[in-house]
């Protein structure tokens, strides 16, 4: 036990740096996944059929390929085609893309739960489709989708560990390097597990806070 605390003291500065990268990666990928998720939902409901096919195609393809393979594709294959992305950006794009299909699913569910009468009220007031989406459908749909988006956020936080495979110095990779060089597997991976767990707690609190603020009475 005493040895563990000594290890923790020695390793934590490095691991905390990794955790910071993990959190940055999570927040960037989360933002991208939400924006793209909205795009897939909007395209999926477009009147122009090819837009709907595009959305459905992207969702089918992205959902069917493991995230690690998508990351390898972006980081190792795209350079062959002349697109050489730095690791962090490749990770954000890969994770954001992969998670956008889950966010689209979350948002679709939330939007489906929006009272049709409210949309009719907006139409009767003369709102255009764009105004309906901006003022009613997205803000109300987002409220309904918040619990499942929160759940997806925690999954994303943990899945950023996959980015360790494309040399991003996030928590898991920093830990791996420490473990390899010190042979202290037990201490290192216990600390990594603890840090992921601690990082996931504020996300839950954040979502509960947003839900409270968004309550409609």
């Amino acid at each position: 036990m005493i040895e563990f605390f000594a290890d923790a003291r020695a390793f934590l500065p490095i691991l905390l740096q990794g955790l910071l990268v993990t959190i940055e990666l999570t927040l960037c990928a989360l933002s991208l996944s939400l924006v793209l998720g909205v795009v897939w939902v909007v395209l999926g409901r477009a009147a122009f059929a090819p837009w709907r096919w595009l959305a459905r195609g992207v969702i089918t393809v992205v959902r069917g390929i493991p995230i690690i393979v998508q990351l390898f594709f972006i980081y190792f294959v795209l350079p062959d085609w002349g697109l050489d992305l730095p690791p962090f950006l490749a990770g954000v794009i890969g994770l954001g893309m992969a998670y956008s299909v889950y966010q689209a699913e979350n948002l679709r569910g939330g939007i489906g739960a929006v009272d049709k009468g409210l949309i009719e009220a907006g139409e009767a007031l003369g709102m255009t489709r764009l105004t309906l989406w901006r003022r009613l459908i997205l803000p109300l749909g987002l409220r309904h989708a918040l619990p499942s988006i929160g759940n997806t956020m925690v999954m994303l936080l943990k899945d950023t560990s996959i980015a360790s495979t494309i040399t991003i110095a996030e928590l898991t990779r920093e830990g791996q390097l420490l473990a390899i060089s010190t042979f202290k597997n037990g201490s290192v991976y216990a600390l990594i597990a603890l840090l992921y767990l601690l990082a996931s707690l504020p996300l839950g609190a954040l979502v509960r806070g947003l839900e409270r603020r968004g309550r409609l009475a």
Binding site: G117, L118, A124, R135, L140, A217
Partner: protein, 242 residues
């Protein structure tokens, strides 16, 4: 000002409107009565384009209701819903300013000032900063009327405005509607409130099986109906209300 000529509408194979002829004069209050499923709500929904009619023509001051004319029509003809349909994520005040600011681009300050006047008119100024979910049904419906008035409409369609209310809340909404009628607002009202229709309506139209079966001056239709089906309907409704 609003004229329907041989209007038809089907939902799939179910024919809901089967040739509706109806005319509302400017400044007139016309109440539509009839059993559930008779098509009276569908008539309102076709006038402001929430449903598209299949056949016949609907005109508002000579302008035919089409997809292209809808934005202009909806500015002139407002709607009040049975279930209020207030935007639950916006305050009472923001519900009233929503269309002036975000549809018609009025400056926020002016729209708010006017919205406060409208809320005062429906006796809801004290609740301007509440969310709709905190209000009773009657209060929500009065806000719904203020929201409709914010469009500066020439006519208002009321779709069973008191049917979702607790009985003790019906009066406060009818009072607001009565004031609007007295001020000369053109109103087309789907209602089960026969006493209100008798008192406020200039004319009453009885809708049955997708057509206007009988129409005329309110006192006339409601006290001496000319066809048996109107009489049967009135007997049923008045018996239930008694």
């Amino acid at each position: 000002m609003i004229t329907l000529d041989a209007v038809t509408k089907s939902f799939g194979s179910r024919s809901v409107l089967r040739g509706v002829d109806l005319h509302v004069e400017r400044g007139e209050v016309l109440c539509l009565i009839g059993g559930s499923g008779s098509g009276k709500s569908t008539i309102l929904r076709c006038i402001n384009g929430l449903e598209r009619h299949d056949g016949g023509t609907i005109t508002v001051d000579g302008t035919a209701v089409t997809k292209a004319s809808l934005p202009a029509i909806r500015r002139r003809v407002a709607m009040v819903f049975q279930r209020f349909n207030l935007f639950p994520h916006r305050s009472v005040l923001d519900n009233v300013t929503e269309a002036p600011v975000h549809v018609h681009g009025e400056p926020v300050a002016a729209a708010r000032q006017r919205a406060m006047d409208l809320l005062a008119r429906v006796d809801m100024a004290d609740h301007a900063h509440s969310l709709p979910g905190a209000l009773s049904g009657g209060q929500q419906q009065r806000v719904g009327i203020a929201r409709a008035l914010a469009l500066r409409p020439e006519a208002i369609l009321f779709d069973e405005p008191t049917s979702a209310l607790d009985p003790e809340r019906v009066g406060e909404v009818l009072r607001v509607m009565r004031e609007l009628a007295d001020e000369g607002m053109t109103m087309l009202i789907v209602t089960h409130e026969i006493d209100f229709a008798r008192e406020v309506a200039d004319r009453v139209a009885f809708v049955d099986q997708g057509v206007v079966a009988e129409q005329g001056p309110a006192a006339h239709v409601l006290t001496t109906p000319q066809i048996p089906r109107t009489a049967q309907f009135l007997a049923r409704v008045l018996h239930r209300n008694a």
